[in-house]
Amino acid sequence: MFEGLAEKLQNTLKKLRGKGKVSEADVAEAMREVRMALLAADVSLKVVKDFVARVKERAVGQEVLESLTPGQQVVKVVYEELVALMGGTSSKLTLSPKPPTVVMLVGLQGAGKTTTVSKLGLFLRKQGRRPLLVACDVYRPAAVKQLQVLGNQLDLPVFSMGTGVSPVDIAKGAVEHAVAHGRDMVLLDTAGRLHINEELMEELKSIKSAVRPHEILLVVDAMTGQDAVNVAESFHGQLGLDGVILTKLDGDARGGAALSVKAVTGCPIKFAGMGEKPDALEQFHPDRMASRILGM
């Protein structure tokens, strides 16, 4: 692993301070280190290449070349570009002018969807909303029960129709139920699935056309490696995502997946999961994420 990109770059570029100016070869050397640091943080190779090209363009500019501290200057450029790429400041959920607002969580197996549905429920209730949690996972053993237990702990209503009904019908039933019972947010928990599983991806498309979610959010595990681009691209291509939720950021992963997912979908990362407890959900902060990816 890299012990702080900043330090490494400082060392690389210090050598040239004596020479009085930074040459192209020096910049190339610095860019190699940026590349290694991003790869160590699990940013996807394809994204790293584009990113490094952009940073390089700025690094050969005057702000770096003429700086007394070119190492620091490169780090600053990298950091700024990372923040910019991950999208300004944190985003919010789009609410439907006509309630209920339907939010659908999708993603690979074990990413944290069910847990996040309950976290979102709590988060929204604190904002004065009346969320309904919906158990659309009819496949994983005890998935319905899991959501019911979580809803129970938080005193939030959970809509379920067992496991003998299609998720499309459950989603439709849930929206009707929300309308009838004055629930203004419908949070759909869907089963984990691989982006290459055509049948299950079709199912999500059917739910989408049946209940027209206002937000389709991809839940991504912060520990995800190079595969993050394949997953995000594929879910986005098939469903049209509105945002991303990054989970398990309470771990020690650098979380380069954040950059990969944002880069290939353009979708904002809206929330960060910071633990297993229901209150461990935060707004996503691109600046913090940039520091984390860089190990600063």
Binding site: A40, Q109, G112, N230, G251
Partner: protein, 276 residues
């Protein structure tokens, strides 16, 4: 690759293929550098041989063959550990199914007393597979479950006891201490237990898996790894970096969500798939 000769571009392509398979930049660079030297030393000119050489090297690093679980204790106690959501509980169902089919008497222990409905999940699997599950209530002490399960396994003359644990992130010391305690309690209940401690890794995981392997190994000692979710598009190349650092071999892979979606780890096949 249908190239006329071995050139720098070919080496770069290989390096990128390795990085894209989560082998990690450092390990990928090392591997390709060694390949360059081999090519030079052995005066290899045929580009068609390059991939084979690299695959052989990868398989060599991972250990030439799969290392099965030895059932030389009665009962053999298997502890399953790993971070959240990697596939521990499902893997237990798969192992139980396989070992039952081999004619062994299997018992499961619902050691995840923390996550919502984790016990129910294992119970449903137990029913499907047709094996019994020792359980306590949600929120109870997992060490106590482990202790009871060992006693039950001994008194029922079970061949293999598989213990589920709650997912936990390796950087959380209190949770890792809880795991060490389970380990100690098992040894007290049956000296020498657990006989196998398997760390479950999700193939979708990137370089963080190295940190997972390191810290779980420190906390409980590992006898092997299970690599799940290889039915997706992730390759799980990070196990190469792990293999360079520790002894624990990959024993099984998971290739789906059903109980028969478990395979022995096959290093040459894994090496081929890394570039596929």
């Amino acid at each position: 690759t249908g190239r006329p000769k071995i050139d720098e571009e070919l080496f770069e392509e290989l390096e990128e293929a390795l990085i894209s398979a989560d082998v990690g930049a450092d390990t990928s660079l090392d591997l390709v550098e060694r390949l360059r030297q081999t090519v030079k030393a052995q005066k290899i000119g045929d580009p068609a041989r390059i991939k084979d050489l690299l695959q052989e090297e990868v398989a060599r690093i991972l250990g030439e063959q799969a290392q099965p679980v030895a059932f030389d204790h009665q009962p053999t106690v298997v502890l399953i550990v790993g971070v959240n959501g990697v596939g521990k509980t499902t893997t237990i169902a798969k192992l139980a199914h396989r070992w039952k089919q081999e004619g062994r008497k299997v018992l499961l222990a619902a050691g995840d007393t923390f996550r919502a409905a984790a016990i129910d999940q294992l119970e449903i699997w137990g029913q499907r597979v047709g094996v019994e599950v020792i359980r306590h209530q949600e929120g109870s002490d997992p060490s106590a479950v482990a202790f009871d399960a060992v006693q039950a396994a001994v008194s029922r003359g079970v061949d293999v006891l598989i213990i589920d644990t709650a997912g936990r992130l390796h950087n959380k010391s209190h949770l890792m201490n809880e795991l060490s305690k389970i380990n100690r309690v098992l040894d007290r209940a049956l000296p020498g237990a657990p006989h196998e401690t398997l760390l479950v890794l999700d193939a979708t995981t990137g370089q963080n898996a190295v940190s997972q392997a390191r810290l779980f190994s420190e906390a409980v000692g590992l006898t092997g790894l299970v690599l799940t979710k290889l039915d997706g598009t992730a390759k799980g190349g990070v196990i190469l970096a792990i293999a360079a650092e520790m002894q624990a071999p990959v024993k099984f892979i998971g290739i789906g969500e059903k109980m028969d979606d478990l395979r022995d780890f096959d290093p040459p096949e894994f090496a081929r798939a890394l570039f596929g």
